[in-house]
């Protein structure tokens, strides 16, 4: 190692002078990138503190009731699934999960079905009022739900969609439409039109162009929009709180929310275990598709 270094400096006298001026320690640091390693260690220490609430929750979920008594900071030794089993029995998780999955899947499919064609129209045709149309649909993305909830409640009542999972899924779909449209429009606009032109020459109509050319080409964009929609519907509370009254139709957020007011909340392990159970699907989705999700979150933002 030293030989190589001296050989190099021999060939370059000016560099040798520069290096010999810098102190020995600084040279070592530079050679082995110790500063970079040090910064990385500090960064990971900080992120550990940042994630400490999550780590603490996981730790406490694996404790027995007696283990909780030792204080929240103690280690779960030995780790048990007792709290998971108890919370599984006290909340009807299969039902809650089924309801939430229904909402997430129907809502997401609806959001994508509703926005794919307008995204195509807006990215390919110059329509009079097209921009206005786009801006109008976009308001759903930044509108606080509370601002319209009173009349929306009346609308849902009149349509007979109160206390119905289908109704809630439709609301989620319409709300997800804005973001999905914005994202898919950007995505479709970045796809070259040559393939489409070729298909049109062969006599394809608009539906065929969309079905056989644009949808397959925008599949990654659709996957990104779908994962973000699923996560946001899975975690949604407000609409479910207002529109659903039947406990048999509650999504997981409502089940969890009811539990926090119950007696179980007097200890750590049951709520902690319930939290983990409810978030397993989104965490799984995140670990599988975090690349997609990150890209969707910065959507259009910085680069499509």
């Amino acid at each position: 190692m030293d030989n190589i270094a001296t050989n190099k400096t021999d060939r370059n006298p000016s560099k040798e002078r520069e290096i010999s001026k810098t102190p020995y320690l600084a040279r070592i640091i530079r050679r082995y990138k110790l500063d970079k390693i040090l910064f990385t260690v500090i960064a990971f220490a900080l992120i550990l503190i940042y994630e400490y609430p999550v780590i603490l929750t996981i730790m406490n979920a694996f404790k027995t009731n007696a283990g909780v008594m030792l204080g929240p900071l103690s280690l779960p030794i030995p780790p048990t699934l007792q709290a998971f089993i108890a919370s599984w029995n006290s909340l009807d998780f299969p039902l809650l999960m089924r309801n939430t999955a229904f909402l997430a899947i129907v809502g997401t499919l609806l959001a994508i079905a509703l926005s794919a064609v307008p995204a195509y129209v807006l990215s390919r045709f110059r329509l009079p009022g097209g921009e206005l149309f786009f801006v109008i649909l976009l308001t759903g993305m930044v509108l606080p739900q509370q601002a319209i909830i009173v009349p929306l409640y009346a609308v849902m009542q009149r349509l007979g969609l109160l206390n119905s999972l289908w109704g809630l899924a439709i609301v989620h779909g319409v709300y997800g439409m804005s973001f999905t449209l914005l994202f898919l429009r950007g995505f479709m606009a970045s796809i070259p039109t040559e393939l489409e032109d070729a298909a049109r020459i062969d006599g394809a109509n608009d539906f065929q162009v969309l079905r056989y050319i644009l949808i397959p080409l925008t599949a990654p964009g659709i996957a990104i929009a779908a994962s973000l929609n699923i996560i946001s519907i899975w975690n949604e509370l407000f609409f479910a709180l207002i529109f659903l009254t039947d406990p048999n139709k509650f999504p997981v957020t409502m089940g969890l929310q009811l539990m926090t007011t119950s007696i179980q909340f007097m200890s750590w392990n049951l709520p902690a275990a319930s939290i983990i159970i409810t978030q397993i699907p989104t965490i799984l989705l995140y670990t599988i598709a975090y690349r997609f999700i990150q890209r969707g979150l910065t959507a259009g933002g910085v680069k499509g």
């Binding site: 929240p72 921009e131 910065t298 910085v302």
Partner: protein, 320 residues
């Protein structure tokens, strides 16, 4: 930051869209060829939007002029009485103060923090930045109910972890009631900031990755120090993104509801009430629908200002 902030910031896409418009856009005459585009491309989305978003938006203002309990069919027109009552409602000023506090403090912590973290992550002085980013973004997969429950356990005065941590590092003499009347709103904002930090960091980090390297090289040749480069090169280059994130943070603070609902229910002594919670309380627990609609109109007013900035930033400049 309920669920996630749809973080739409269009800089590159905008250019791409306008470019593709120039290249391959079809005149609207060609649009009329197929019925399919009319029905599924314009009418259906527009009608659903109007039913579930557009009409309620306008109807909020209309309903705020009535005395209505939300159940019976009879509504009594009372003019501006709801607004007069609202101005004299002590909870309104409390809510407005809390919302403003929420906005200002989330500007400081997630926004500034995200800016600094984004700069650090894109500086190339750290290994494994992608792993760090994944970990930092983990809270976006949690619902606000989850986060609220988690921090409810942590800040609990009896068996919470936070006071125990303080005790274990020798600060046992501070054992505040984190959800007590004085601290609760700050605790809520801190929790909300915790969950939003990953998002802002991601956006700023991505924006900084787009700044052309030549600018940094020039700055380096001129002998700029790291903070000078950040101040004079990085910050001006990502100014549009900073504007958009600011608007999103403001919308997030206007939307604040879930955390308040889960952690404090507006209490203790209504000290943590925000506009969204106040509306929920009036309309859906006391059945003052007209009054709730008046609060909704106030929210809508603020939202309209923010939407204006947001859309101007995103869309209207898109084709220029």
């Amino acid at each position: 930051m309920a669920a996630f902030i749809p973080p739409e910031t269009a800089v590159k896409t905008r250019e791409e869209i306008s470019k593709s418009n120039l290249r391959g856009a079809l005149h609207w005459r060609y649009f009329r060829r197929d019925w399919f585009k009319f029905v599924f491309g314009i009418f259906l989305p527009l009608i659903l939007f109007m039913i579930f978003i557009g009409y309620p938006m306008l109807n909020t203002i209309y309903l705020s002029l009535f005395d209505w309990n939300g159940i019976t069919k009879t509504m009594k027109f009372i003019g501006l009485q709801n607004y007069i009552q609202l101005i004299h409602d002590p909870h309104l000023s409390l809510s407005l103060t809390n919302n403003l506090l929420w906005f200002v403090l989330t500007l400081i912590f997630p926004l500034m923090g995200g800016l600094v973290l984004g700069a650090i992550l894109s500086s190339g002085r750290i290994y494994f930045t992608k792993v760090l980013m994944v970990l930092l973004l983990l809270p976006i997969t949690f619902s606000m109910v989850t986060i609220g429950t988690m921090f409810g356990l942590i800040t609990n005065p009896v068996f919470g972890a936070l006071n125990q941590v303080l005790a274990s590092i020798g600060l046992g003499f501070i054992h505040p009631d984190w959800l007590g009347p004085n601290l609760a709103i700050y605790t809520l904002i801190a929790v909300s900031s915790w969950s939003g930090l990953g998002m802002t960091t991601l956006m700023f980090n991505a924006a900084m990755g787009q700044v052309p390297d030549e600018l940094y090289e020039t700055a380096k040749m001129e002998g700029a120090r790291a903070y000078q480069t950040f101040w004079y090169v990085t910050l001006p280059s990502i100014r549009p993104i900073i504007g958009i994130v600011t608007v999103l943070v403001a919308i997030g603070s206007l939307r604040a509801f879930d955390l308040v609902f889960v952690m404090t229910r507006g209490g203790p002594f209504r000290r943590t009430t925000v506009l969204g919670y106040m509306l929920f309380d009036e309309a859906f627990t006391k059945y003052h629908f007209g009054y709730g609609a008046a609060i909704g109109t106030v929210i809508l007013l603020f939202a309209a200002v923010l939407m204006y900035f947001y859309i101007r930033q995103n869309v209207l400049t898109a084709n220029n």
